[in-house]
């Protein structure tokens, strides 16, 4: 009897923890929505990331152009298309992965049409489960493809720009003013403060859509 009571208590505690975590995340997102500046705390110090000014945007563009040139000139870097060809020679068909994702999406769309029109609770649950499983498979293929093409010029350029962008817009309070945390991009890249760097990248994703680079 005690065991059952303990189990029920444990389940309730876990549920409550999940609800609290959900509320915390919701409050966090709601806070980030309020403005185009995101303030966060690390070890009692206030930092922020914001949208860049026009001049800073030009700096990012200049960095992008130069980095792109560096990557193209470096013979150890290849475009996605070239990586796809090399993988094909090794028996990994990325085009086939794309085709599979499209087919899965077609299946999902058919399930959507059935789900939209049904009112039977059993059918609804079954169709939802089928859709979730197909989306999981799509996500698996997408992650696998992403990992395979991680070293492509296109992906490496995005990573580099993300890092430069973060360096440009990351600020902290110093003498009641917001000032840049790092004087140069090199300093940013060589920083040992992994908590700060990771949190910055996390919040930058909410500021900008990566493909807009």
């Amino acid at each position: 009897m005690d065991d059952i009571k303990n189990q029920v208590r444990e389940t309730e505690a876990r549920n409550l923890l999940a609800i609290m975590k959900d509320l915390e995340q919701t409050a966090d997102i709601e806070n980030m929505l309020k403005d185009n500046i995101i303030v966060f705390k690390i070890r009692e110090e206030n930092y922020r990331v914001r949208k860049p000014t026009s001049i800073e945007q030009l700096e990012v563009e200049e960095f992008r152009r130069k980095k792109y040139l560096d990557l193209i000139k470096d013979s150890t870097y290849m475009f996605r298309k070239q990586w796809i060809e090399i993988y094909k020679e090794k028996g990994i068909d990325i085009d086939k992965m794309d085709h599979e994702m499209v087919e899965i999406q077609n299946d999902i769309n058919q399930l959507f049409l059935r789900l939209a029109k049904t009112e039977s609770k059993n059918d609804i649950e079954k169709l939802k489960t089928d859709i979730i499983n197909k989306k999981k498979r799509q996500a698996e293929i997408s992650v696998e493809k992403s990992n395979l093409l991680n070293y492509s010029i296109e992906d490496q350029l995005l990573v580099a720009i993300n890092s430069f962008y973060s360096f440009v817009v990351l600020e902290k309070v110093s003498e009641n003013q917001w000032t840049k945390v790092f004087k140069t991009h090199k300093e940013f890249m060589e920083s040992n403060d992994t908590e700060l760097i990771n949190k910055t990248f996390y919040y930058i994703n909410f500021l900008i859509y990566n493909n807009s680079f």
């Binding site: 959900d22 995340q25 919701t26 997102i29 709601e30 980030m32 929505l33 309020k34 403005d35 185009n36 500046i37 995101i38 949208k51 769309n109 399930l111 959507f112 049409l113 789900l115 939209a116 029109k117 609804i124 169709l127 939802k128 859709i131 979730i132 994703n205 909410f206 500021l207 900008i208 859509y209």
Partner: protein, 113 residues
């Protein structure tokens, strides 16, 4: 993250604020009035989507209900069905052509039954 955004977008608070911000000057969803972040843009898209769903619900459209709106997957299913239904209606309108007309650009609509 997106499921939290959707939950916020369909909440009464933000549906109300969104509707009022369109009608009343001075009521803004965000502190900034331009240079929107990616998160803000995504949120606005969902606000508009749920606005559309509520409108369909008020017009008593087929297959939409509060239950559907509260369920992310059922919402996606309804939105896809809605898009297909719209495409089919557009296709039907395009296909009605008067073969006796010598003016190529005129399309005669059939009378509604």
């Amino acid at each position: 993250m997106e499921n939290i955004l959707r939950k916020l977008a369909r909440s009464y608070k933000y549906r109300f604020l969104y509707a009022r911000s369109k009608e009343v000057n001075g009521i803004n969803l965000f502190k900034n009035v331009d240079e929107f972040t990616h998160l803000q843009m995504l949120f606005m898209q969902w606000l508009e989507t749920y606005n559309l769903l509520i409108s369909d619900l008020s017009s008593k459209e087929l297959y939409i209900s509060e239950e559907v709106i509260e369920d992310d997957i059922r919402t996606e299913a309804y939105l896809y069905y809605r898009t297909k239904r719209k495409d089919e209606t557009t296709d039907k309108k395009r296909k009605v052509v008067d073969p006796t007309s010598t003016i190529p650009s005129i399309i005669f609509k059939s009378k509604a039954k």
